[in-house]
Subunit: 212 residues, 2 copies
DNA sequence: CCCCTCTCGTGATTGTTTTAACAGGAAAAA
DNA sequence: TTTTTCCTGTTAAAACAATCACGAGAGGGG
């Protein structure tokens, strides 16, 4: 299996394949062709075949794709069930909301601890996750082999937290702040969710749509 | 000014330009060249010049771009200050969290009402936004000329809410559910934020990074 | 067993996006 | 004023991505 380079757009589509295939499985559908899957996802059959071909090709001529097999392959590509170790930094509104609502487990992430600087929260336990003091963070990451940090601090604390995380040897950051994070010369992976950018895009489409 | 077609990627970058330019303005920087802006945003100067050229070109040879002018142009392209009228559907955890934390006003959106089916919430007031019964939604949208709906229902209620919104004449939906929404033959604009897809992408990069 | 249908994987083609190169004109310096 | 420097907008080239077209091989019916 050769993997010279997987394009950004292909990676962007993989989680959506996983979601769709999981739904198909729940609906009790065992096999599907690129054409049917394409109709469902509004993609061309060609693109679907080529996307999976990047990773080796999991289909069979004259038959299509086995839904379970394909789902498992996609899950494996995305690293689900790898049991990535995780911490959360910043237990403000967004942080707490994630702790309470988001099902990290089902995507293969284990949330070990949350960190904050506010002393009224430290020592508490939010949905089974202990809240610790930020000063312990670097050690905690190193000793527990933490792979990923959810960054949900306020603007002021973001870059400082990033520096500490990198010092502790973090490998990836899931960024919910509106900041432009600077990873220095580290090769840390940063994946951001920017609410405001998404809403502004919507504003653009609204301003420029036919019925504007 | 001709606008044959603005590519998706260009639109994707516009909100980031707005954010960066706003920061520059706060820092008291009045002029900037495509080279300096590119260094700051990790984009090539060429790309920046070409992006702005799509909309007419706002710079001056030998000088660069005036930060305030450029920021205002980008804001105008994105429709900030158009005063889009908005409602929120589904006052669960995510919905409430948005109501309490997100500064809709500063991006040019006016939140007029929230809707839910749970009777214990109806009649309440969250951060100055009244919570109404879903049965009133279609009328409310029509009578108040609502442009956008934030969709933060649970999975079960999502498609039903979409149908009602479209019936009321909504023009855009900011989707926080994990569902594949079907707009039927309506030309409603859908902009989604999928937490899980973002996290799964992070998982991919983590699984396939050098230090994996 | 043979034939027909179905559908994948792949190589060729077309289309799109990014990067590079440059002509022209403003700013700044001499 | 003249010259030099700087930097845009635009055109051309390169890189990248999506689509098309087809050979090959499995499934299924007769």
């Amino acid at each position: 299996m050769k993997k010279p380079y997987i394009s950004k757009n292909v990676i962007q589509r993989m989680p959506r394949y996983l979601r769709t295939l999981t739904e198909l499985q729940k609906e009790g559908i065992h096999r599907i062709s690129s054409g049917e899957l394409g109709a469902r996802m509004r993609l061309t059959p060609s693109q679907i075949r080529q996307d999976f071909a990047c990773f080796g090709g999991f289909g069979q001529q004259g038959y299509g794709y086995n839904v379970k097999t394909l789902r498992d392959e996609v899950a494996s590509i995305l690293g689900v069930n790898r049991g990535f170790q995780m911490v959360l930094v910043g237990t403000g509104k967004i942080g707490q909301s994630l702790l309470e609502n988001f099902d990290f487990e089902s995507y293969g992430f284990k949330l070990r601890a949350a960190f904050d600087i506010r002393h009224d929260l430290i020592g508490e336990n939010i949905c089974g996750v202990p809240v610790l003091d930020c000063s312990e963070m670097e050690d905690f990451i190193r000793s527990n082999g933490i792979h990923v940090a959810v960054l949900s601090t306020n603007r002021a604390g973001a870059q400082r937290a990033v520096d500490t995380l990198i010092a502790g040897g973090i490998r990836a950051i899931w960024n919910f702040t509106e900041c432009e994070l600077s990873p220095g010369d580290s090769d840390v992976i940063i994946e951001s969710i920017h609410f405001s950018e998404s809403l502004l895009r919507l504003g653009y489409h609204l301003s420029n749509s036919a019925s504007a």
